[in-house]
């Protein structure tokens, strides 16, 4: 039987329109063999979670460059929890100061935060490892 492809939702929550990173990552992960869905811009946390559930994804990758991450990320994580979808791997990219990264990870709102300059291969490997660890 063919192995199910890892399904990833790349999402742009909040109001900022900087979609270069989201698009490059979406394409890179697709080229790395994953099934990628891109939400488009200006999504509310509710819209992001709804899309994640509907598309039955393994991973949600958030891209935030507006500084609203400390509000948006916890809200999305909590909505996933409320919908019994806590097992979806939640990762984040964008302009995120180090202190905020530490706080978000410590409170288990995200599993990992990728700063500008991270190779896509590194992200793809991280996703594969996390998913396969979980499967075991």
């Amino acid at each position: 039987m063919e192995e199910r492809k890892i399904r990833v939702l790349v999402a742009k929550p909040g109001l900022d329109g900087h979609d270069r990173g989201a698009k490059v990552v979406a394409r890179g992960l697709r080229d790395a063999g994953m099934e990628v869905i891109y939400t488009g811009l200006h999504q509310t946390p509710e819209q992001v979670v709804e899309a994640a559930l509907q598309e039955d994804v393994d991973v949600v990758g958030l891209s935030i460059l507006s500084g609203a991450h400390m509000t948006l990320v916890p809200r999305i994580k909590n909505l996933l929890r409320e919908n019994d979808a806590e097992d979806i791997l939640l990762i984040l990219g964008g302009i995120i100061p180090e202190d905020d990264i530490a706080e978000l990870k410590q409170n288990e709102y995200v599993t990992e935060v990728f700063s500008p300059g991270t190779p896509i291969e590194e992200m793809a490997n991280f996703i594969r490892d996390s998913i396969s660890n979980r499967a075991r």
Binding site: G14, D19, L41
Partner: protein, 554 residues
Amino acid sequence: MAGDDYARIKKEEKEWRDRCLSGNQERLDEFTTISDKEVKDLYTPADMEGQDYVNDLGFPGEYPYTRGVYPNMYRGRLWTMRQFSGFGDAYQTNLRYKYLLEQGQTGLSVAFDMPTIMGYDSDHARAEGEVGRCGVAIDSLEDMEVLFDSIPLDKITTSMTINGPAAILWCMYIAAAEKQGISSEKLGGTIQNDILKEYIAQKSWIFPPEPSMRLITDIFEFGNKYVPRWNTISISGYHIREAGSTAIQELAFTLADGFAYVEAGMEAGLDIDSFAPRLSFFFNAHLDFFEEIAKYRAARRIWARRMKEKYKASDPRSWMLRFHTQTAGCSLTAQEPENNIVRTAYEGLSAVLGGTQSLHTNSMDEVLALPTEKAVRIALRTQQIMAHEIGVTNTIDPLAGSYFIEKLTDEMEEGAEEYFERIEELGGVLTAIEEGFFQQEIANASYKYQQQLEGQQKIIVGVNQFTSNEPTDIDILKIDPEIERKQKERVKNLRQNRDSNKVDETLKELKAAAGGTDNIIPYILGAVRVYATEGEIVGALKEVFGEYKEKPLF
């Protein structure tokens, strides 16, 4: 130079290659600009064959302005040092503006927060967590008054990065000046007001294209009558480049947008020379030094030629492409952020050598957060060092006549012309946007660049080579969450304390005007003056105009 001279140079060059270069290995398989444009090992006078000095370059301040828009350039007046700035609420940002002016900055540039940019008041559900985060929160005239408190609006010029709701924020500025006793004729500055590049790259739109273009031509008309010193639009390549385009794409798409605005103005019945002199431009200064200089020079020449020859503008000011430049935010690295000071200095230098009218140099920490006061001061000092210490302002367009620069300038122009043809074949800028043409071209270019980074064909110091594991050790500006709470309270208080009958009345008139053909700006100004909020005005206009939606692609 005569034809046989070029032939002699080419013959000599070939002999020199055979004699000296055969067997010499080069470091790389190919040498390319950051935009992936191939660069030769050597340029000679033969590369300028066919170029006519007077027609193609001419003299500064004269058609086709390749060498600069003003006759004496920086010998007469330096570029305006204009640091883009705004954060938290109007009180905080007002203090930063006063600090920057004290430090010798010569113009202001307002960064608004995302809710303001998208037309939401601070207490709207969609604004949560975003208030004052990446710019200053402005909800009404009241905030605008605070923002410019004790800053005389007839003495400084102000640039405002605002697009979808540009007309509203502009009216707030005009009304704030009225409160200072300054009439609109005396105001100088710029609103970005470039909706086409929002659809293409920056993606902060509100209304669909048709009503958006009408708002813009209404601004052109109103500006010409009542705010004659104002640049009514800043046609922007900056965001197109930040979204990942190449230099040629930035040049071509920006100028294509510019021509679309000219055509829209003419279709709205305006005389081209009544609005074209107030069109201004905004370009990126990326890392590839010579490519950027060639881009600015080509931009001036293309614009002048089209405006004169195709659109038949007769006022020379309509032919002049004046532009602001900002160094490339996307070139900054989160790793070893101090290195960004160096990158920014080189980028700023290309803008100065390219003849910019104003410049923003990024602060080293902008890849991590909004800049601290110290980081902004270093960025401003970078400009002051360029202006006063390194001698580049002594003569005009000092790189003209460089075989490489002139060849590259020609190639930039040719590349842009090819894109103009493709856009025309697609049916014009608006159709090309609807079909996702620009968006896909940019996405392709940025993905290609990413692959080159991962394959190490392109190097970023401290990121994919010469890396270190030293932790970053610089201070970061923090926005107090308390700001959002206070701002929400402020807008609630405003709603209680103003004359709401007047607000309702002006909003009703505004809606009627939006559905008609009158110039809409006086109606917006009317609503602003009685303290209608930005969100209320946008809401009223949305009822008539609707909202834009994009088809996501990657």
